[in-house]
């Protein structure tokens, strides 16, 4: 039997880690994910898990230890955020390239400088080309659910890639909310035993990971990573289908909310999608046909499916909690990729980008309503007057 608990997002994640009971966790505390590692360390100290918990001296070492343990054949997890992820950078790529199915809880927050510990998506957007699968979570429940699914996704023989499960720093990582915690045995059965295909600890069959790989073969190994990403989308859906059936959920590549008959929609990830749902309901009560699309799977980017879900709209407003500095119109990465996806699939809908909430700046329902009203006006005129708006910044 599952039970409902009042948990912070980080505690929900730590609980999932306890139930998954990974072989190795190597992590270094950094705000705002610290409480995940702290809580998990409690589980280790209390003997509730069999995990070898490695307290390392930096995030670079944390990810390095994860890669070492994963190649050895262990089921490996870690948690980080922001600058901690930035310090892992070199090894983040190596984890993906060595095809290590490491699962990382990533609590999104702003990168320095100036120093800021609060929510935005700059950290994860920097790793978007690194070869990791990236999942977004609206709240603690989704972070918990996604983490459990991530194990199965990453370890699938057709995938073998690391998976980052994101949630919003402080907004959900420290928000106490109702989380349905499934029965330990059910989670254990769902994630199953990890059977590594090429473990280094299989000393009867010695092998080498990460050797020198020049112009004669490196390119072929990158092509293999593309193949794994292409398989990942199918595997994510298969795992979601099984998870949905078992735990009565409704996960897919993204979540449409009152989208089907909408004229305009906002696309927003993580916790802001939750706020936007409230705004959608309010505006619907006023007779306005508005909807929402909440991306769940950001890597691999489901371009065709997103296009199909959005193509009936008259205007699309994308909300980006980070800036791709120097990119086209200094827009956000979600907008840029979505605009490219729609255009290349032959769908031409007026679009606008709303950068918001950097460094943890609150985004309130009134501001999201403003975005919807803008979108409705764009739908009326068929024209995007301003491609990128920096929502809530003081002039």
């Amino acid at each position: 039997m599952s039970k409902f608990e009042a948990l912070q997002g980080n505690e929900a994640v730590a609980t999932a880690m306890r139930q998954i009971n990974p072989d190795v966790v190597a992590a270094y505390p950094i705000t705002p994910q610290t409480s995940t590692v702290q809580k998990f360390a409690d589980f280790v100290a209390d003997g509730l898990v069999d995990t070898e918990f490695v307290c390392v001296e930096s995030e670079h070492s944390a990810m390095s230890a994860c890669v070492g343990a994963s190649t050895a054949g262990a089921r490996v997890m870690t948690a980080t955020a922001a600058n901690g992820l930035a310090l892992m950078w070199e090894i983040v790529y190596i984890a993906a390239s060595n095809r290590c199915p490491i699962v990382m809880s990533l609590v999104n927050r702003a990168l320095s400088a100036p120093i800021n510990i609060h929510c935005d998506h700059s950290d994860v957007m920097g790793m978007r080309d690194s070869g990791w699968i990236i999942l977004f979570s609206e709240d603690g429940q989704e972070a918990y659910d996604n983490l459990i699914q991530a194990v199965r996704i990453g370890e699938h023989p057709d995938v073998l890639l690391p998976v980052a499960v994101c949630q919003d720093g402080f907004i959900t990582s420290h928000e106490m909310a109702r989380v349905e915690i499934y029965d330990d045995a059910d989670v254990k059965a769902f994630v199953g035993e990890y059977e590594p295909r090429w473990p280094l600890l299989d000393v009867e069959n010695p092998k080498t990971y990460g050797p020198l790989d020049f112009y004669d073969y490196y390119y072929e190994h990158k092509r293999q990573q593309v193949e794994a990403m292409e398989h990942a989308q199918r595997v994510i859906l298969e795992v979601a289908e099984e998870f949905n059936r078992k735990f009565n959920r409704d996960y897919g590549l993204f979540e449409p909310y009152r989208l089907q008959d909408a004229r305009v929609a906002v696309v927003a990830a993580n916790s802001t999608a939750g706020t936007a749902k409230t705004v959608v309901d309010q505006l619907r009560d006023q007779g306005l046909k508005v909807g929402l699309l909440k991306p769940r799977v950001f890597r691999p980017f489901p371009a065709r499916e997103l296009t199909e879900a959005l193509q009936h709209l008259e205007a699309i407003a994308v909300m980006d909690r980070s800036i791709s500095f120097g990119a086209m119109n200094n827009a956000g990465p979600l907008f840029l990729e979505l605009a490219a996806a729609l255009t290349l699939h032959g769908v031409h809908i007026p679009m606008a980008d709303y950068v918001y909430g950097l460094g943890g700046r609150d985004v309130r329902p009134a501001e999201i309503e403003h975005v919807y009203r803008d979108a409705l006006e764009i739908a009326e005129t068929g024209q995007t007057e301003r491609m990128v708006t920096y929502l809530g910044v003081r002039e």
């Binding site: 090429w198 092998k207 080498t208 990460g210 050797p211």
Partner: protein, 116 residues
């Protein structure tokens, strides 16, 4: 060597058949070649122990060092540097010796100047 496509090689650059470094002939990297000099080898196996490329050939039955695997030796000169006979020769002559001095046990001779 025929190069394989991405479907036909292990993922992630993994090498699954251990010991296949022998197939990779690195002798062509060499600028200096180890050759025997006038001082007799004492078969102490110090060079064999230190050689990073397992390129010291030995007769295990008779416990003799027999020569150099020039298909793999990269010419790093570690064998000559650790050779105790070389050290003895240098001490005896009490002068700076060139690496290719004929009085040594293991000499490092520039590839272009090797007398076959």
């Amino acid at each position: 060597m025929e190069q394989k496509g991405w479907r036909d090689i292990p993922i992630g650059g993994m090498i699954l058949d251990a010991g296949n470094a022998v197939e990779y002939l690195t002798g062509g990297w060499r600028a200096f070649r180890p050759v025997f000099g006038e001082a007799d080898c004492i078969h102490c196996f110090t060079c064999w122990l230190y050689c990073p490329d397992s390129s010291i050939l030995v007769d295990t039955e008779n416990e003799k060092m027999t020569g150099f695997d020039l298909e793999h030796c990269k010419g790093c000169g570690i064998c000559a540097a650790v050779c105790p006979v070389n050290e003895k020769v240098i001490k005896k002559t009490d002068q700076e010796l060139e690496r290719d001095d004929v009085r040594l046990c293991i000499r490092m001779v520039e590839e272009g100047k090797v007398e076959e």
